[in-house]
Symmetry: C2
Subunit: 227 residues, 2 copies
Amino acid sequence: MKVEKISELTTNRLSVYLRCLNELAAQGAKTVSSDGLAKQFHLNSAQIRKDLAYFGEFGVRGVGYYIGDLQKHLTKILGLDKQHCVGIIGAGRLGTALADYYGFAQSNFTVAALFDADSQKIGQKVSGVEIFDIKNFQETVEKHKIDVAVIAVPAEFAQDVFEQVINSGIKAVMNFAPIPLRVSGDVKIKNVDLTISLESLSYFLAKPNNKNGKNLKPNGAKHRIKK
Amino acid sequence: MKVEKISELTTNRLSVYLRCLNELAAQGAKTVSSDGLAKQFHLNSAQIRKDLAYFGEFGVRGVGYYIGDLQKHLTKILGLDKQHCVGIIGAGRLGTALADYYGFAQSNFTVAALFDADSQKIGQKVSGVEIFDIKNFQETVEKHKIDVAVIAVPAEFAQDVFEQVINSGIKAVMNFAPIPLRVSGDVKIKNVDLTISLESLSYFLAKPNNKNGKNLKPNGAKHRIKK
């Protein structure tokens, strides 16, 4: 089994399965079949069996999966048995909303620090998380053992902040700034660009074959731009 | 040209190109080549040419693309020449942070209303956006011509809220609740599940071949669960 070859789409699905199992466990269920899991959570049962088989055979014929065992295995595969410390850069509305985001704790991430350049904000606490001066980024990262950075600054500051993050030795970054970052080396970035999601909704609403769609007609002609 | 067959990955890339063009235009540039665009924004030039050729030929040999023209075309293709009205359901930290998210305006979306069930919040304004009673959802949607809903409520309320949204006739939904929603009919959902992104970072940090990775070893043996 080559764990390092698992695609991101697969790990994303494993995350979804784990979320569903957590919900079933909270309801008191002990076992679930791939069909049951698929039906209850609108997933694909063949895909579930395939994804889980990749990491070893977890299921038992006629019984399905033991929820507790499968939770433990997926937690370990996803590295969620280890605590991660998050630093959020940018203590604006988005950064402070994220400081309070319950999904972090759910996934074993603790928000250890917020960072900002605004002297008015430095030293304040938001949802129990202190706002540090971005100038003291490196020492705060070391002190709090921060291993995940969340970039929640405006686009024009994102690349500089990103380089500061990388220089500090952090290897995992979640970027909310709507701009592609120049990456070098062994660093993992997850871009959360809400404008892309919005524009995909806009495209859907504008599509000519959408019953709700308005007037956008596909332009069949080639419009070569002449000088 | 069959616009309706364009994949979501393509429209996502068109969104990125448009963002890059906007930045170039703001810098005063008039033309850009696919190579120049690729280099400056860390994109793939062959992919750019392929994506844009799909919608007609925008480029001119030896000149590249006229930025202003290409902006206009992409804006129209993505349906961004039309204003959309957004209703955000859930006036917690995330919902109120989103009410202020500059990316909405950038993509021609206006946040028209926030909704909540908490009587303490109803009637208040956040970033100029009024919080309405979720009980009056349908009439508020009609009054403000809301065509996009953002679900920013806890997981356990998400499906009920979603059904209310669909019943109101809204066809485009952005869901921040970390739970798969049961969809029926001609509705477009974009799920923004931050825990999946987090867990993908966690997986990266835990990977055995990551220099930074700690102790998680891939378990080569099949662990069949016995009853």
